[in-house]
Symmetry: C2
């Protein structure tokens, strides 16, 4: 269900096509919620059917068209209901913890590789999120600028603060994962394999 609200959050800033939205999922909101285009286009159609958004066919060149969507009053209402309602939490499903808990079944080399990959994976995410945080601080993303342009000045601080806050969670998450995996490498060193 979150995909729908990620899309609405973007469309509330201004009308966009499926393609535009997809680009956002590669950059800004994609750092919080991933979605491929094969999921975005059908979801937009469903949202249009539910009358949360409305699409307008625009001509492009001589034969090309693009469908630009905007949020309807019902869509706005639905979005606010989601924002003001409780979030439902998914049950825990942590492949890395699951594997770690049975790591004695792996060879020492495989165990090391697993943890090194884990560090590399989360380091990659961390780099992206920290870069995004810096851009937020500098108001350097096009989306954020458009967002602030349609927001009363007295609310600007709030918008930026919450955006920052959202990314901070991911940054902390990545740091925690990296710290954990590093301690895992130390653990393996201390376990005296083969001795």
């Amino acid at each position: 269900m979150s995909l729908r609200y990620a899309l609405l959050a973007l469309l509330r800033v201004g009308p966009m096509s499926g393609y535009d939205l997809q680009k956002q999922f590669d950059t800004s909101v994609g750092h919080l919620w991933h979605a491929p285009d094969s999921q975005i286009y059908p979801e937009l159609r469903k949202m249009e059917k539910a009358e949360l958004i409305e699409g307008e066919e625009q001509v492009r060149g001589t034969r090309g068209t693009r469908r630009v969507y905007h949020v309807t009053a019902a869509g706005e209402e639905d979005y606010l209901a989601w924002m003001n309602g409780p979030l439902s939490y998914a049950r825990v499903r942590e492949p890395a913890s699951l594997k770690a808990a049975y790591l004695e079944a792996a060879t020492p080399e495989a165990a090391r590789s697993f943890l090194e990959d884990h560090i590399a994976h989360w380091q990659g995410e961390l780099d992206q999120w920290e870069a995004e945080l810096e851009r937020v601080d500098a108001h350097g993303t096009p989306m954020l600028r458009e967002r602030l342009a349609v927001t009363p000045p007295e609310d600007h601080a709030r918008v930026v603060a919450f955006k920052r806050f959202g990314y901070e969670n991911l940054v902390e998450r990545a740091r925690t994962e990296i710290g954990w995996a590093k301690r895992g490498l130390d653990l393996i060193d201390g376990l005296g394999y083969g001795s």
Copy 2:
């Protein structure tokens, strides 16, 4: 795919029925990976078809039966291949961060509730995981005891250490989430809503 390996990890300790496994998902391994019975039974059938496990029909009373599964050589091989191979990481999809990043759209009361719910949710998880950690330290879970019973004594330390290690990740995760949400409450206090 992890469900399959969670099931194999359990069955490697000793033969069990779908019902037995389901009980484990309510307690031990369920703290790392959740699965409902409606997913477990079909997956067992699929695994049996793939010859990773083998089921034996056992009589129970006069008419009742239970199907007890054990891991085959091919299943053992498949499990070790998973343990020794790389883990594939899912792309980020964090509903809480997504919502947090747009929290200016919520009323201050709803924003507070969201963060308070977040704290309550992760505190609940944290309590469970810390309790499980204590049981691991005390070798107090039936699964762990059976596990150690089928493990050479020189490997006991490793088994316990990795089990502990797996749960530590979740404990840290929960602490990070709680800390983040608490800072969010402070943030809201400092934003001067309505002033």
